[in-house]
């Protein structure tokens, strides 16, 4: 098995992150609760369409793409030639999952990206592996797989034009993009 996730730890993290998120979650939305079981983790879904009661004075509208980008984080970053998710990546994905639970009408595209230090075709395969590991993680913590598309861009869509360690690091990422169900800002 390539990955084994500690469901109990995740539940704790999810609650913790929900509490310290920059955008206060509406009161009606309880933090997702993960019940540990012998088999698949089970998710208790939050109520659908949590209408915000407090108008945000500044910042993006909760539930918007900008909200997801600024307050959740849309990318996880990988080590060279790797596709494992470290604790930082996992916490970002947990925030993504919590957000996706809050806005269940949304759908995402997870793109796997690679740096330029590899050949095109191998990187397409490696990027697919990265995109899929992100998807699997999100599914494992309760996101319906039908809401998640994946794609690999290999090394074809760098976000950092620099040809150095810093640039390559930025370009080795899993990019979660809201493609349906959320306004832009």
């Amino acid at each position: 098995m390539r990955h084994n996730f500690k469901v109990t730890m995740l539940a704790g993290l999810l609650i913790g992150i929900g509490a310290c998120a920059a955008t206060p979650e509406p009161q009606e939305t309880p933090p997702p609760i993960i019940v540990e079981s012998q088999a698949e983790p089970e998710i208790v879904r939050p109520p659908v369409q949590p209408a915000p009661v407090i108008q945000q004075p500044v910042g993006p509208t909760p539930g918007s793409i900008a909200d997801f980008r600024e307050n959740v984080g849309e990318r996880v970053f990988f080590d060279l030639n790797q596709w494992r998710l470290d604790l930082v990546d996992q916490s970002i994905l947990q925030r993504q999952a919590a957000w996706l639970q809050s806005y269940p009408q949304t759908r995402i595209l997870v793109a796997g990206n690679c740096d330029e230090r590899g050949t095109r075709e191998y990187n397409l395969a490696l990027g697919e592996r990265r995109a899929n590991i992100v998807k699997e993680y999100l599914v494992d913590i309760g996101i319906d797989p039908s809401r998640i598309e994946t794609v690999s861009y290999g090394k074809e869509r760098p976000i950092d034009g620099r040809s150095n360690e810093a640039g390559w690091q930025m370009n080795r990422n899993g990019f979660t993009q809201i493609i349906y169900g959320a306004p832009r800002g």
């Binding site: 050949t119 095109r120 191998y122 697919e128 690999s152 074809e156 760098p158 620099r162 150095n164």
Partner: protein, 460 residues
Amino acid sequence: MLKKLFITAILMVSLYTGAGTAQIEVDITEGTYKPFPIAIPDLNAQPGAEAYALEISEIIRNNLVSTGLFALVDPAAFIQKDLDIRFQPRFADWQMINADALVVGEVGITPDGRLSVALKLWDINGKTEFKFRIKESETGEWIDDAPGAAFVLAIDKIRRLAHKSADTIYSRLTGASGVFDSRIVYIAETGPKIARVKRLAIMDSDGANQQFLTSGRNQMLTPRFSTSDQEITYMSFEDRRPRVYIFDLQTGRQEALGDFQGMTFAPRFSPDGDSITFSQAENGNTDLYVMNLRTREIRRLTEHPAIDTSPSMSADGTQIAFTSDRGGSPQIYIMNTDGSPLTCPSGGSDIACRITFGEGIYSTPVWSPRGDLIAFTKQLRRRFHIGVIGTDGRGERLLSEAYLDEGPAWSPNGRVITFFRENRPGSGPRLYSVDLTGRNLREIETTTDASDPAWSPLLE
């Protein structure tokens, strides 16, 4: 329109009718090497064909010089100025200026308005003519001892006429089949690095006639020619679904290669043109597949949790080289096309044999058209190389080195390898070619940045 090229043995009255071929041949294998001195005066022109004659002469010279195998004798040194294709040259005049071979030709316009070229190739030291092996257009038969060669094509195909002429000379002097009358398909790249436009483009093998085949709305990668020279397979990101397509050059139509669950990429035609090998990635795992283009039957070639990609079938179709990271890092493996176990060069028997054991990472294997070598991309200590290795994993040779050298492709005669290079960190990719011996590394100049070159077969 008349598209077919007519190759006819020209019936010429030659003063010299001696048989046999001369001994001189250009050495294009390894070992000591000296460019072969050849004199190529401007071809003679029949009335009305003067400009064409000059253009064809120039293209022939450029083609031959571009191989690095020939050295042109300086025209200023020419003594004999009254060459005529119907007569033997004054050998002493050419021997004196150290020409080992002399091209004499004539360009004319046929009664139906097409362009004709007639050629003779003289062996100066042997005081005889090089006979050609050519195909008779009427009967399709090969003639071994043709005293000359002639080609007729529509006037707008003037470059192809010149390439055909250059191929004839090149083949006769090197023993290899031709290379100039072919095309290269590639990816033209424009725009900043973080928003690159990548579209299909095509050009003659000498870089002339560059044209875009697609608009650039969708990123496209890794085009490869079929054996027919009319079809290209490639991968496109259209509709967020990276998939393999086939592009018909005559109609401009593109068609997805089947309907697959996962993303498909790394396509390549089999050498017989009947099938396409490719990768499909599904649920985080990439394996190899082959699709028969006639029956549309799809067969899975590998089933392994590691990445298997970049399949390339051997010239005889019995084996497939591919990249796999099943051993921990990307390396080149060989398997039987029918999936049966094979005896590995490194010992034992397996479904797939690793053939690269050098330091570094190996990928993009491409089987040579002659069958004896596999070209690859190698990554070693932050540098990239193009290299070749025997199919048994022996005799690895690196032919190039740069910040990025990637994606080797063979010329149809298996003598030259093209690839793309980023010279320095941050510089855009450009196309290069290098002789199989590692000599004559040169850029194929393109109007935009370019990558993923792939050669067509020799044109019909």
